[in-house]
């Protein structure tokens, strides 16, 4: 099914691969995909790992790379090839700053009303892009409104022994927009691959369920977030280790 009113903005990342593959595997085809990079054809999976300023030794990189083998999505499948194989229209956009005037114009030129957003991590969509007439759908790996911010999947494992993904419309505040869907997931059996695999998987799964419901109803049902909540900041490696080891213990 071609989703006439839904496009996607995708940065080169494992998350974007997980999203696109999950959608096409369920025969849900975005009308148009804007790829935020110009080197997709050369982009090898290991380049998609986010390096930590030289912290990873080559042995560690190899170890992380080995973690990418997973039952959820093909980490080594080229995104352009996936799109071509499934006849999904796309463009490679050279304006990689989604808040730039040029990029906003690219969006304005598109007829789709909704864009699934899988941009670069840490980028905040500013007022100009949010008021360009499109609505952006984001999937957060935490239960909203309770778990806003960064690395909430680990905090959720420590606090509740389970994981969540929340699909919502982006607004100007962090993880604050109207919620479309919240889905609960078990803790992964292998916590080591959370950053690169399980986090992407649960987001992509919640996205597919949301889009399936949209396809049935031809509209999104959303509601504003209720209640006060606080923002979580990047988890300390000790707490992260305890969370990961607790997954392995299960």
């Amino acid at each position: 099914m071609i989703l006439k009113d839904i496009g996607m903005v995708a940065a080169p990342s494992l998350r974007s691969k997980a999203y696109i593959q999950a959608l096409v595997n369920h025969k849900l085809y975005p009308s148009y995909v804007i790829l935020l990079e110009d080197n997709y054809s050369n982009c090898k999976p290991e380049h998609l790992l986010i390096d930590n300023a030289g912290f990873y030794s080559s042995k560690q990189k190899k170890h992380v790379f080995n973690q990418l083998n997973n039952p959820y999505f093909k980490y080594d499948e080229n995104m352009v090839e996936t799109l071509k194989t499934h006849d999904v229209s796309f463009e490679v956009c050279r304006h990689t700053d989604i808040n730039s005037k040029e990029f906003i114009q690219v969006l304005k030129n598109r007829p789709e009303s909704f864009f699934i957003y899988s941009g670069y991590g840490g980028t905040i969509l500013r007022k100009d892009v949010l008021s360009c007439g499109k609505r952006f759908i984001h999937i957060h790996s935490g239960k909203l409104p309770e778990y806003k911010g960064s690395t909430t999947i680990y905090y959720s494992i420590l606090n509740e022994g389970q994981c969540f993904a929340t699909v919502f419309f982006i607004d100007e505040q962090i993880d604050h927009g109207e919620i479309i869907k919240i889905k609960k997931y078990p803790m992964p059996t292998d916590g080591e691959n959370i950053d690169y695999v399980y986090d992407s998987y649960i987001r992509s799964d919640a996205l597919v369920e949301t889009i399936k419901e949209y396809a049935k109803q031809n509209h999104f049902v959303s509601c504003p977030q209720k209640g006060e909540s606080e923002i979580f900041y990047i988890i300390h490696p000790i707490l992260k280790h305890i969370a990961i080891i607790s997954c392995k213990q299960k």
Binding site: N52, Y155, Y233, I234, P237, Q249
Partner: protein
Amino acid sequence: MTILYEYSKGNRLENPHSYMYTHYIGEKFLQIFLKSRENCIKKIGFSYNEKELLSHIYFILKQSISDETYDIQGLLKRFKNNEKIQTKVFFEEIALLILNSQKKEKILLYPLLNDFCKKYEISKKLFSKYLRRDEKLKPESKDYSDLTIYTLLSFCLLHYHKCFFNLRFLNCSLKINDMLCSRVTKIVKENDLVKLTFYANLVLEKQIIDDLLEIKRIKL
């Protein structure tokens, strides 16, 4: 090959770690962390039990605070009234209240601690003066070198976590303690309040991590 606890390597006040996408090493990492902290505890050279330690800290704080009228409501009022905040004095008062209050009163300190927790998480620095305007803390000084304010905030966050299990506060405290451990050679030359609170933080932090490991049934 010995793996160093890199989060306390060098001078983490001037070169803070971003903590982004930290690598999973395994249970060995928890041992490396505990060993690194143990070394810092040894360098401070105290051997007080918890009661003695807190009693010493209380005594120093009490001497330092000249205003006899301080209380939680007064502190909250000043925080809301957009007054200038002398960070060290402010944290001394919070620490004293943490040591000297019932649980139902301690919980009222949450907004104060939360604002400073955010400040540290974002900038990895705490300045000697702040002004609270439009419900936001803005630095009123460029001086972020006073280690007392870091040890005191970490002290308050850890004690609050101990009482209410707040992982956000524990997270921030772990990062502050990483930074302080990177400055341990400077801390040993500091005044008693800095040394005692730093020592108390590492002792309590170890208890908290041990408890968390037990809850999660992780044996090292």
